[in-house]
Symmetry: C2
Subunit: 371 residues, 2 copies
């Protein structure tokens, strides 16, 4: 079950405030979804995710299918129970990961044959197999199996791929066994070709899904080009359905995406850079290993009240990174996710007050963007 309601449109942009309801809770949109690739948001417990305000997380079908296997997770009572997360979950289709395998896969009309990155074993997944896997995992929102084309790609390749994705979307819808419990979202493809994006949007909407994603962006193209694609795609999506921009999570892209009418985002960025020692602050990124922080006893971000910032100094966290301690990754991860959760809260507040463009300017000025 999925309900979505837009309860406010911002005056000067395409941004909107919404409430997304699943059987695991109600989510205020626009929302950022932390990524828990292997049934865990790296370095975090479910309790900590709740503490920072996360209501919905994303998990990766490709990874879970290979390890520990969707049958095991089904036996465990589904993904929520397996990982002890009683908030909402969205699973991707695994398409992005499978198509990133490059030479290790073989596409046909039926589906994709690919070789596991873990043990070299051979696998085949088509739309029907994909739905079976996502039905077994049991997420609240599941994604149609699509081909994610790389950037750049020539027109004919993107057009043919879009046709394949549309056929697969239809087959996903037809083979989806738990439509009352799991909402299946369609995915708009079409690369950076406006006519293909528009055609993909129209024909995906014709298939009638409870939500729509924009896929195939943030794959190497310039950000300005990405924003342009979003800007001409969202108007073609139904106003009363959630819109999800896949794989995007930098602070600037979150703001720009919301301005162009996006409701949902996910990205490994905040958690991945955290483990490498880069934290987001209200004054831009900070590389904590740098020598300048060795005797800096201020928190990571003086305006932040996350657990890491309330209790530890830059000098201490730098020491933890230099010493290779697990707590380093934990504190930086908590901080970065909290930073994005707070950013989304501020964005929602700015929409409420019809001052999103002013907020963007204030945020970027401080964050260190010339805008």
């Amino acid at each position: 079950m999925l309900k979505f309601e837009v309860h406010k449109r911002e005056k000067n942009t395409m941004a909107r405030l919404g409430l997304l309801q699943t059987s695991h809770g109600t989510i205020e949109t626009p929302v950022f979804m932390p990524v828990g690739t292997q049934a865990t948001v790296k370095a975090m417990t479910p309790d900590e995710l709740k503490d920072i305000g996360a209501k919905i997380i994303l998990s990766n079908t490709y990874h879970l299918y290979l390890r520990p296997g969707h049958e095991l997770i089904e036996k465990a009572g589904g993904l929520h129970k397996f990982m002890s997360w009683n908030g909402s979950i969205l699973t991707d289709s695994g398409g992005f990961q499978i198509f990133s395998l490059n030479k290790l896969r073989n596409i046909s009309e039926d589906g994709v044959e690919f070789i596991s990155h873990l043990d070299g074993s051979r696998h085949f997944i088509g739309p029907e197999e994909n739905m079976r896997i996502q039905n077994a995992l049991g997420a609240d929102i599941i994604m149609a199996f699509d081909e994610c084309v790389p950037y750049p790609a020539d027109y004919d390749y993107v057009k043919n791929s879009m046709e394949l994705t549309l056929k697969w979307a239809k087959r996903c819808k037809e083979s989806h066994k738990r439509p009352d419990e799991q909402a299946l979202f369609g995915i708009v493809q079409g690369g950076t070709y406006r006519d293909l994006r528009e055609e993909s949007a129209r024909r995906t909407v014709d298939l009638d899904f409870p939500g729509y994603a924009i896929g195939g962006l943030s794959v190497g193209e310039e950000k300005e080009l990405m924003y342009e694609v979003i800007e001409y795609t969202t108007p073609l999506l139904p106003f009363d359905k959630p819109r999800y921009l896949m794989g995007v999570g930098s602070p600037d892209a979150l703001i720009e995406g919301v301005i162009r009418g996006i409701d949902m985002f996910d990205c490994v960025l905040p958690t991945r850079i955290a483990r490498n020692g880069t934290v987001m602050t209200s004054h831009g990124k900070l590389v904590i290993r740098n020598a300048e922080y060795a005797e800096d006893f201020r928190p990571l971000d003086e305006e932040c009240d996350c657990y890491a910032c309330r209790n530890f100094s830059r000098a201490y966290i730098r020491h933890l990174f230099k010493a290779g301690e697990i707590l380093a990754a934990r504190l930086a991860t908590i901080h970065n996710l909290y930073f994005l959760m707070k950013l989304m809260e501020k964005i929602r507040q700015a929409i409420k007050e019809d001052r999103l463009l002013e907020f963007r300017k204030e945020f970027f000025t401080k964050y260190g963007y010339v805008y």
Copy 2:
């Protein structure tokens, strides 16, 4: 400041119940101290340590001296503040780590010259330098700088080493600058030679310290031999002072140590084996990576109510280990430390009820020891 009071002796053994008071809190003894080598108990936050009932932790002078340096920690306001732990702390002297360097060190009457395992830089630490470092770190309990002899070692070597440790103990006491704030413990050495242990105990006690450790055990000798040494050493230590057995933390050795009159223990064992995927349970050790747990949806220990056992299955934790996830180390660490904290609680209860020998039998029968 340090106060210690024995408020109950067990009827059938040398075990006792005590209260150890530092300016950072009151600790019920016998107590197990989790080890936070590099100013963090690996994989744990200070809040989590508090949650599992830890009141005192140990940190390593050798590691902190090399990185981030005791001056930095002093500037941060001391170790408690640096790591955001407001419970009690004991720092070892670093002797054990320095003498474990083998060929990288050179002992003289003055002290030890050694080469850092981190960057090959040369260092010299004698008793005076050691006190300066531990005074800067600011732990509630600090340890005299001793030579920890390997096992086996011949009589003359151990005798000479004992003499050196006694001279250094005196010099530590004389150069200790914060005796009102930090309690300096003496360390009994003497290897496994009864006359040397007895002489070391008598002459260390003559120097008059607020607490005494038994060092140089659990370094390769048979456990029965270790128990024997403890058994003839503790009666020579003052009844009204805390007794600390260094580097010991297996469940069986904790029980046997308490029976022989030990009040304090520390060991990296529970946290180290946790990160390798071995957990302690009431039915013995469990290697969670084993295939037999792949579809085992029970908690690590069905009698445990730690955070890991309340929320996650063996199958899930096994998956986390196989997938190399940080949460694996976190959950196993929480569980193992909680297991030892609960064990010490049960030991204290058994002392209270004068049934420690019965408790030992019950525990070992279940844990899988023939006893």
